[in-house]
């Protein structure tokens, strides 16, 4: 491998610890606040242009639900349509298998370099690292992915992986690192976005013109026709999809849609939700291979890697509707303050908080903490173009963490135990429920608190510090409402039990 070593998500701390660090990073906070607030407002404007947004959203959700409920049917159709159009279809049950397939396909071409279109699926499976181990260098060609790769960094946003970097940081990364990977940055590079884009154009052009193999993902796959769709802005996607001889697309099995006509819904929902544009600059569609136009060889690698486990959960299944627009990240107050890295996977933000614990399970401390990385404010659900009820799934997954229960693990039904570290909380919850279910006990507790209220400290010890470190405690009143009612009104109450 010619570039520097890759950063990885492995061994990251649980969300609260990671977020505790990032909330104190003032530059990160400022970068994220600026970027997310900019796009948030623009999205609202772009969406408001369409009177029928709610109906498009409902149709998008329904099309995805139809697909998911009959995924076996649509995958078979897709496979035969892609094959009939000259493509070769491969199936990967997990990340290792997908990486092995892609590595072998690249090796078979005799090449040692590939150009890549930004792809969440290949980020998820850690393809670049796997290729590097096999002596194959993968060049990321999306501007933000390039920033991440050159900076030996990790993506922190679905649409804009380098959202945590501001223009001056990007300038420094380009100036210092481009030479190690190819054409150096121009002398005197400024931090003007147009200059930075120009530097990326020059740096990557030699890679595009010489590339023999490209790796991509896809936004949509049409079962009926075998057509794949890549939605992008910069043209790096077009370069990768049309110039090399061999194209390998790694795509999650949930990305299939039934018909070509169905694209009329998603090509309206996605750009407005994602980059807040009426339409993104470039969308490429291809069906197998074409004579003299584009790659002579096309491989489609269909990826499971936990998707069938997600599909098996009738509540969590709706997460597979996701079209990776990132609108939920851009409105999320938790994402804005914690940053994408705290989510410890390729999928940050609210969608990551429901997708990662389903794809990977809830066994690690990090994955078990993700369903709690939300105040349940519901802003994500409101903007989701395919109406994924993210708060509902978060609560559903919290239950899986603290209560355990039936799940699907690599395709097999299993019953998992509650995650570790919740014993004290469980006991407290049970005790609280018992008290709340016995109003006389509750009343005794309230009266005790009222009688001792002068003695209450302003700051709590132990776990209570999590509250009182930053917030005053409410004063306990002299008399609960219940007692006030009893004292003044009880005779009026016709329904005393």
């Amino acid at each position: 491998m010619s570039g520097p070593g890759h950063a990885t998500y492995l061994g990251m701390p649980a969300f609260p610890e990671a977020a505790d660090t990032s909330t104190r990073d003032t530059r990160l906070r400022a970068n994220l606040r600026h970027a997310t607030h900019t796009i948030r407002t623009k999205r609202a404007t772009a969406v408001a242009e369409l009177d029928d947004w709610g109906r498009l959203r409902a149709a998008g959700a329904a099309i995805k639900d139809r697909t998911l409920r009959h995924l076996d049917h649509y995958l078979e159709r897709l496979e035969s349509a892609v094959t009939a159009a000259g493509g070769q279809v491969h199936w990967a049950a997990d990340a290792d298998e997908a990486n092995r397939i892609v590595t072998e396909l690249v090796r078979a071409t005799g090449e040692h370099e590939v150009v890549k279109v930004k792809s969440m699926a290949t980020q998820e499976i850690g393809l670049n690292d796997a290729l590097a181990e096999a002596g194959i260098t993968a060049y990321e060609t999306d501007l933000a992915e390039l920033i991440v790769q050159l900076g030996d960094d990790l993506p922190s946003h679905i649409l804009v992986p380098a959202i945590h970097r501001n223009r001056s940081e990007i300038r420094d990364i380009f100036a210092e690192r481009m030479a190690r990977w190819g054409r150096p940055a121009p002398d005197g590079l400024t931090d003007a976005p147009a200059d930075l884009a120009e530097a990326a154009r020059l740096h990557l052009r030699e890679k595009f013109l010489n590339a023999k193999v490209a790796v991509s993902g896809a936004n949509f796959m049409v079962a009926e026709t075998g057509t794949l769709v890549v939605v992008e802005s910069e043209g790096n996607g077009r370069m990768c999809l049309t110039l090399p001889d061999t194209l390998i697309s790694v795509v999650g099995i949930e990305k299939v849609v039934p018909t070509f006509q169905d694209l009329e819904v998603f090509l309206q929902l996605l750009p407005r939700s994602s980059t807040a544009e009426r339409m993104n600059p470039y969308t490429s569609m291809w069906t197998g291979t074409s004579d003299d136009d584009g790659p002579r060889t096309f491989h489609l690698v269909l990826l499971d890697n936990g998707r069938t486990d997600t599909l098996a959960d009738t509540v969590g299944r709706q997460a597979l509707r996701c079209i990776r627009c990132s609108a939920c990240l851009n409105v999320c107050p938790v994402y804005e303050r914690a940053g994408g890295h705290a989510y410890g996977s390729a999928y940050p933000g609210p969608i990551g908080a429901i997708l990662t614990p389903q794809l990977r399970g809830t066994q690690s401390a990090l994955d078990a903490s993700l369903p709690y990385a939300s105040s349940l404010c519901g802003a994500c659900y409101e903007v989701c173009p395919v109406a994924i009820d993210i708060p509902e799934i978060l609560v559903h997954l919290r239950e899986r963490v603290v209560e355990g229960g039936p799940v699907s693990v690599r395709g097999t039904r299993a019953v998992i135990k509650p995650a570790k570290g919740h014993a004290a909380e469980r006991a407290a919850m049970r005790a609280a429920r018992w008290a709340l279910d016995h109003p006389s006990v509750l009343r005794t507790g309230q009266r005790l608190a009222s009688r001792t209220r002068r003695l209450h400290p302003r700051r709590l010890p132990g776990p209570g510090r999590a509250w009182s470190d930053t917030r005053e405690l409410p004063a306990v009143p002299a008399e609960s409402f219940r007692d006030w009612w009893q004292r003044t009104r009880a005779t009026n109450d016709r329904s005393t039990p």
Binding site: P16, A19, D20, T23, P333, V334, R337, A338, P371, Y372, S374, S375, L376, C377, G378, A379, Y381, E382, E392, V395, L397, R398, E399, R400, V401, V402, E403, R426, M429, R430, A432, R433, L436, D437, P439, L442, A449, P463, G464, A466, W467, D469, T470, R471, E472, P474, V476, P477, E479, S480, F481, R482, W485, Q486, R489, N492, D493, R494, S495, P497
Partner: protein, 250 residues
């Protein structure tokens, strides 16, 4: 019309004056209010933390306590949303787990009768001018569950707009969560505090004397943060403003 007040555990224990304001307000509007003593907590802290099974007795308790009331009124957007959105889910899941329809039926009996206070005033009683007087500058923070689950929309603002003497000032970033989120406030204390700090700064910057919400659980967090920041802005529940009159400024 038999109206039962669901006070909520937070108001019962920590904010009884909000409950007294609701009673004062409703009685002024000619509503006879009952308070079934069998009531307790809606179960939201348990449910939202993942303890669905611990929630079930509280669903049952709520349904039993309010049997016979035409309407159930609560001064809490999130508790009303808990009943309306989550009780049916809890019932459906219990049925799916083979434990019969009892919980689902209990949920179905309370969902249509449960109203957040401002909804009850505007939709059931059909009033926006409740005859209140509150001579202060107030900013309004729409709490998330009221805004996005109950879809309260302009109801609270319309009610505040009709209050004599009240000067309503817009809150920048109003629709952003304050960062309370129940157990989120302690499980993710750093992010919760950061959200609260931003919210409190926005509130103070309005120059208002009071910040009004429909939910005292959010207010506990907002008010606690304002106080820690040394802000003079006072948190006040909408019921207290609406209960206030020339004769008795709340």
């Amino acid at each position: 019309m038999r109206v039962g007040l669901f006070i909520t555990c937070v108001n019962d224990t920590l904010y009884p004056h909000t409950g007294r304001a609701v009673v004062t307000l409703l009685e002024r509007l000619g509503v006879e209010v009952g308070f079934p003593a069998g009531q307790s907590c809606c179960g939201q802290p348990h449910f939202n933390t993942g303890y669905r099974h611990e929630t079930e007795p509280l669903v049952r308790r709520y349904a039993t306590a309010f049997r016979g009331y035409d309407h159930i009124v609560t001064p809490s957007g999130s508790c009303a949303a808990m009943v309306r959105d989550n009780y049916p889910r809890i019932g459906a899941k219990a049925a799916a787990e083979g434990r019969g329809q009892e919980l689902a039926e209990a949920a179905a009996t309370v969902v249509p009768r449960t109203h957040e206070l401002t909804e009850f005033l505007t939709d059931v009683l059909g009033v926006t001018d409740v005859g209140a007087y509150y001579p202060h500058t107030v900013t309004y923070h729409p709490t998330c569950h009221g805004l996005r689950m109950l879809r309260l929309g302009d109801r609270p603002r319309a009610l505040l707009g009709a209050v004599r003497g009240l000067d309503l000032v817009e809150l920048p970033g109003a629709e952003e969560c304050c960062g309370f989120g129940g157990t989120f406030a302690v499980k993710n204390a750093a992010v919760s505090a950061a959200m609260g700090a931003d919210k409190a700064r926005n509130i103070t910057a309005t120059g208002a004397q009071a910040v009004c919400t429909v939910d005292n659980s959010c207010q506990m967090h907002i008010g606690g943060t304002l106080a820690r920041q040394g802000s003079a802005v006072r948190p006040v529940h909408i019921a207290e403003i609406l209960a206030s009159t020339e004769e008795h400024v709340w």
